[in-house]
């Protein structure tokens, strides 16, 4: 054993006797006062702490059996003391393992009338907590609390106000010594039961201070802490949505929350990429159809003046259809946003996704197809079985090549994300297939590629929800969704593809109108983002402006709107960029909006 530092600093021989250490420390401290010589005091202090730490080890090594008799009385303390002797300390440096022995050591010290217990880091505490958890030795926890926690874990329905009052009372009765373990246990409960009412989860968080103290990470263990924070964030979002809804009838809310929560959790996994892509795919069928109908009418009207005002005139293109179109776009973009946000893409990655999405958006794809058609089928408007093949070859003209590469970039992105541990490989594959779906157009291709893909996605959704903490999806729902998807593919898409054919033929006559179509495409994409930003921004932008400047948030919105009016192209870029910055908030906002809407629906149904 070292007999130099820290003992030399205290003028002592190495000892396990804490009283002697304290006496020596006190003696030196009298002429090394902290306010006289800070540096000397710090030196002394660290020596003192080290000496106490070493003394603790000595006590453990010397008196392993001393506490056995007491152990029976103080079962909880003993629960953590699994191996007091198995690892006699040979070095004064603490190692994480020894944390498990500390309760016995503490106990021995307490018997000696000593109080000092230094050292032990967060990991140790977490391990201790684990040990207690594993032992299931809860002699200190009242049976009342025990049964309440069990009920909560079972998901037994309750009147939550009454439950919380009872739980709170039971938690208040928990002796101080058992607090840490109850905290860990409740944290697990929150993480493992996402269906727990948000108010309850947040009340628990307040009770244990999970969200206000960085040391909780040590106490709970790193992994649990992070899961817990994510869960609490979700609950906080729901709670905020409740608070924002005009009237708060808690029961209606709880009911809505349960239903909608399980529905969305099951259906979409709330924004896992795979599920979002699934959703977007379904939506895109509709979008495609709408756009082709729009283009067809536009072509038929052949009226440049009406075209210039972007089909706002009633007889050329009904406003209602346009709005529906935009809303569908919002839906797709929102789902993309949800996916990206949950996957925690960086702003740049999001920009990439955004560009890909816009490149894949129906108008752009239409323009792209039109361009391909010009080359592959100059006159004939009959479906061509070789079309998929042609489509895969880039055209020779530069602007067409650009369009093709833009569309294929989605595939590139998907490929590059295979192997990225943060993005499920299924999502990447799904993206690839969706890209292919745009490039390959015949119904056969849809049937061959999309249907199996949908199956894969559904199975994945089920697996995902089983694995994660979300409510599992019943297989009956999976089957129903598959049937619905099949119908869509057979019926809707088939018709939509038939309609595509005609505009292509028209465009073949006039390639010079291509930029005009491109312009229409952008026009359609920009409002999508704009609308989404406007729907979700007012509160969220302010959050982004660090919660202290509402004016700043409003001016950002105003600026974006003005830019949209003045320069239609700039806001798309700005919008995308802002979108990336605001993603986490947007995601939450989208959830709020949906949930609020759902609450209203449920209330109406109840009324």
């Amino acid at each position: 054993m070292t007999s130099s530092w820290p003992w030399s600093e205290l003028g002592l021989e190495p000892t396990g006797d804490k009283v002697r250490i304290k006496k020596a420390y006190a003696a030196v401290l009298k002429h090394t006062r902290p306010d006289d010589d800070a540096a000397a005091y710090q030196k002394l202090r660290s020596a003192y702490d080290a000496a106490l730490e070493e003394a603790r080890w000595r006590t453990v090594a010397e008196a392993p059996a001393a506490s056995t008799a007491e152990e029976q009385e103080e079962t909880r303390l003993a629960a953590g003391a699994e191996c007091p002797t198995s690892e006699p300390p040979t070095s004064p440096t603490p190692t994480p393992h020894l944390g498990a022995t500390s309760p016995a050591a503490q106990h021995a010290e307490a018997q000696d009338g000593e109080e000092e217990q230094q050292g032990g880091d967060g990991e140790q505490e977490a391990q201790d907590a684990e040990a207690y958890e594993d032992e299931q030795d809860w002699s200190d926890v009242s049976p009342e609390l025990e049964s309440l926690l069990a009920e909560l874990a079972d998901g037994t329905p309750h009147d939550h106000d009454v439950l919380w009052t009872r739980l709170r009372r039971a938690l208040d009765e928990v002796p101080l010594g058992a607090q840490a373990h109850v905290s860990v246990r409740c944290a697990r409960l929150v993480v493992q039961n996402p269906a727990l009412p948000s108010r309850l989860a947040l009340a628990l968080a307040d009770h244990f201070g999970w969200r206000v103290d960085f040391r909780q990470a040590d106490r709970l263990g790193f992994a649990l802490h992070h899961e817990l924070q994510a869960a609490l964030e979700h609950h906080a979002a729901i709670a905020a949505a409740v608070a924002a809804s005009p009237s708060q009838e808690d029961d209606a809310w709880a009911d809505a929350e349960r239903r909608v929560g399980s529905l969305f959790a099951g259906l979409l996994g709330w924004s896992k990429t795979t599920n979002a892509v699934l959703f977007a795919t379904v939506f895109l069928h509709r979008l495609n159809r709408q756009w082709s109908s729009f283009l067809r009418r536009f072509e038929t009207a052949k009226s440049p003046a009406a075209g210039r005002i972007m089909g706002l005139s009633q007889h050329v293109f009904p406003v209602a259809t346009l709005l529906r179109l935009l809303l569908a776009g919002v839906g797709v973009a929102a789902m993309g946003a949800l996916a990206a946000a949950r996957e925690k893409l960086s702003p740049w990655e999001w920009l990439w996704v955004g560009l890909t999405t816009s490149a894949l958006s129906p108008p752009v794809v239409d323009v792209f197809r039109r361009a391909l058609r010009t080359i592959t089928h100059p006159v004939d408007d009959q479906p061509d079985m070789l079309e998929p093949l042609y489509n895969l070859f880039p055209s020779t003209k530069p602007h067409r090549r650009f369009l093709v590469s833009l569309a294929l970039s989605g595939g590139v992105f998907a490929l590059s994300s295979i192997g990225n541990p943060d993005i499920p490989s299924r999502a990447a594959v799904a993206q690839l297939v969706v890209t292919a779906g745009f490039v390959l157009t015949t119904r056969q291709v849809w049937n061959v590629t999309m249907l199996p893909m949908a199956c894969v996605l559904m199975v994945d959704a089920v697996r995902f929800t089983e694995r994660s903490s979300l409510d599992p999806v019943p297989w009956s729902m999976v089957l129903a969704l598959l049937a619905a998807n099949h119908y869509l593919v057979q019926h809707d898409v088939g018709r939509a593809i038939a309609r595509y054919e005609r505009p292509y033929a028209c465009a073949a006559e006039d390639v010079s109108r291509l930029p005009w179509y491109a312009w229409l495409g952008f026009k359609a994409v920009v409002p999508t983002f704009m609308l989404l930003a406007l729907v979700t921004a007012p509160r969220r932008v302010m959050v982004a402006c660090r919660r202290d400047s509402p004016t700043m948030g409003l001016s950002i919105i105003a600026l974006v709107v003005w830019l949209h009016i003045a320069f239609p192209f700039i806001p798309m870029i700005v919008g995308l960029w802002l979108f990336g910055l605001l993603l986490p908030q947007l995601q939450r906002a989208a959830e709020h909006v949906t949930l609020r809407w759902a609450v209203r629906v449920v209330r109406k149904a109840q009324a």
């Binding site: 009283v19 006496k23 006190a26 009298k30 006062r33 800070a38 709170r168 103290d213 909780q216």
Partner: protein
């Protein structure tokens, strides 16, 4: 001479450590009324004179708009109080109380008092501490040191009892703040192991809860009256009396007059305890946190020391008893202990020979750190708080941490220094910012060392050294001086000089007059007329300006008032 001052939410005290009849000891200094407690109350009367202490508090029910109570809660905020025609900051109001204490001390000691040790709640943050220093500056006191209240209590307790090798917990529930400290006493060393607290929880909150209960229980009030009572402070005294009654008894009745009608509200202790459940609940967390930080099992504590007037409430004691189960509660005079501890610390500052064997080591109750970006599961997460000096580290302390750049070709690292416990950096209190230039390299290849040095006077120095290029930056962040610039101090002092402070030798007369006026409003019928007559007689005696006449009249008047008013006085 350095005095120790306990600047409390409800009451303030001044004490001094000096040679007494039985050896050197702490002595509490009485004010002009002969009380050791001076209520922390400021009022401006009709003539624009400023009243401080008990006369001011007597005015609270009648002149709620012109009287400020419990302003310590607003310390360090931009909250302003308008009394009469003047606007006061909480610092100025505290300065008026401190000035009154200072003149009491000077009158009692017969020598000018220039320096003071002032106690603050352990859980006061830097801004609140600065505000306290500013208040002292305005009162013409040099702050010899700010001392944490539970530490002061522990110091006084440790020295008074001299327990051998004891670890104890100080549970300090004052008028407006709640603190918990775990202390250890051995061989004359008073060592603070951990502090935690809640600066927005105290006896006044219990009074507020009880006030709501009283208003709710008084069926004879109209809605408008209820609203008005709820917002104002006019019921404070009635409710405070009721609170004290409920300490001794299981049920009590509050009687008060609103718009010339007498109202009664019967409240039981049980009702009060139920309404205060939420407050009691908030007492738990700081206790848990302090024990956790001190790495102690509750069984390792030998004692729990209760400090602060609010710990007199039976429900608080029961709560503590339940929390610690078998631990003995040490009941000391809860109002005076903190001031005595401050006096001891003041004596330590001047190296009083009687305290040669005493050393105090305190901790930093808040964590200090910077905002960083952390990588969690491969994703970069911004706004993460990285503590450099964790809370409850003994001070003075110097700690160093190494950080790396986050982006390629980063040229500057900006350090955002924060104080607090939230894992989210921006939720903590910002103390300052500084920048250091770094050579442009790929992300993560440049490392900087950040050293935080925090001393016992609350000065935080930040030193940043970049490893490769040798760039450095240095900043002193929590300066103990320079809270206000000399210009600002002069300005504030000038504004304060414009105030007419009610003369000290008239305080006693003024107190009786204000008390009589309050009683007059409280009573009805014959009693009211009687008080009115007595008051008129006393004022007539004052007008004679003959010292002996005034003296006799005052004694008579006091006797009369004491008979009339059986409520609490301090």
């Amino acid at each position: 001479m350095i005095v120790g001052i306990d600047l409390g939410t409800t009451n303030s005290l001044v004490a001094v450590f000096r040679e007494g009849e039985d050896g050197p000891s702490t002595q509490l200094i009485p004010n002009a009324l002969g009380h050791v407690l001076t209520p922390s109350a400021v009022s401006v009367d009709e003539q624009g004179d400023v009243l401080v202490g008990l006369p001011a508090r007597e005015r609270a029910p009648l002149h709620p708009r012109d009287t400020a109570l419990a302003f310590k809660r607003w310390m360090g905020t931009s909250h302003r109080v308008t009394l009469g025609k003047r606007v006061f900051s909480p610092e100025e109001l505290s300065a008026l109380v401190l000035r009154s204490l200072k003149s009491d001390a000077e009158a009692h000691l017969g020598e000018p008092v220039k320096q003071a040790v002032i106690t603050v709640p352990a859980y006061f943050n830097d801004v609140q501490r600065k505000a306290t220093r500013a208040a002292a500056e305005l009162a013409g006191l040099e702050v010899a040191g700010l001392l944490n209240e539970p530490t002061a209590a522990g110091l006084a307790y440790g020295l008074a009892e001299r327990p051998d090798h004891t670890t104890f917990l100080v549970f300090d529930l004052g008028g407006g703040t709640f603190d918990v400290s775990v202390l250890e006493y051995f061989e004359g060393v008073v060592e603070v192991r951990a502090s935690a607290g809640d600066t927005r929880l105290g006896g006044e909150d219990f009074v507020r809860v009880l006030q709501d209960l009283v208003i709710q229980e008084t069926r004879s009030l109209s809605d408008k009256q209820r609203q008005k009572l709820r917002e104002g402070t006019s019921l404070w005294r009635t409710v405070e009396q009721l609170k004290r009654d409920l300490t001794d008894r299981d049920d009590a009745t509050a009687t008060f007059v609103v718009d010339g009608v007498e109202h009664h509200a019967a409240v039981t202790r049980n009702q009060f305890e139920q309404c205060a459940g939420e407050l009691l609940h908030r007492l738990r967390r700081p206790v848990e946190r302090a024990l956790m930080d001190a790495r102690l099992e509750p069984s390792e504590l030998q004692e729990v020391v209760l400090v602060g007037g609010a710990t007199r409430m039976p429900m608080v004691r029961q709560m503590v008893a339940r929390l610690f189960q078998r631990l003995p509660l040490r009941l000391i005079n809860p109002d005076e202990t903190v001031a005595r501890g401050a006096a001891v610390q003041a004596a330590l500052k001047v190296r009083n020979a009687a305290l040669n064997e005493v050393v105090l080591t305190d901790v930093m109750p808040y964590s200090l750190g910077i905002i960083t970006m952390q990588e969690i599961h491969g994703r970069k997460v911004g706004d993460a708080f990285s503590p450099i000096i964790e809370r409850n580290t003994p001070v003075p302390v110097s700690r160093v941490e190494t950080y790396h750049t986050v982006s390629d070709d980063q040229r500057v690292v900006r350090l955002d220094v924060r104080q607090g416990e939230s894992p989210v950096g921006s939720e903590n209190l910002q103390l300052g910012e500084l920048e250091v230039r770094v050579p442009p390299r790929p992300a993560g290849e440049v490392s900087i060392q950040v050293r935080f040095t925090y001393d016992a006077n609350g000065i935080l120095e930040v030193d940043v050294k970049e490893d490769a290029g040798g760039n450095t930056a240095h900043k002193v962040i929590m300066q103990s001086q320079g809270v206000m610039t000399p210009g600002q101090v002069q300005q504030a002092l000038k504004r304060m000089a414009g105030l007419k402070i009610h003369p000290r030798d008239q305080q006693e007369n003024r107190y009786f007059i204000e008390r009589a006026k309050r009683l007059y409003e409280d009573r009805l019928g014959d009693v009211r007329r009687l008080i009115g007559m007595q008051l008129a007689a006393f004022e007539a005696a004052l007008d004679t300006q003959d010292a002996r006449t005034v003296q006799t009249a005052r004694e008579k008047f006091q006797q009369f008032l004491d008979e009339m008013d059986r409520g609490f006085r301090l």
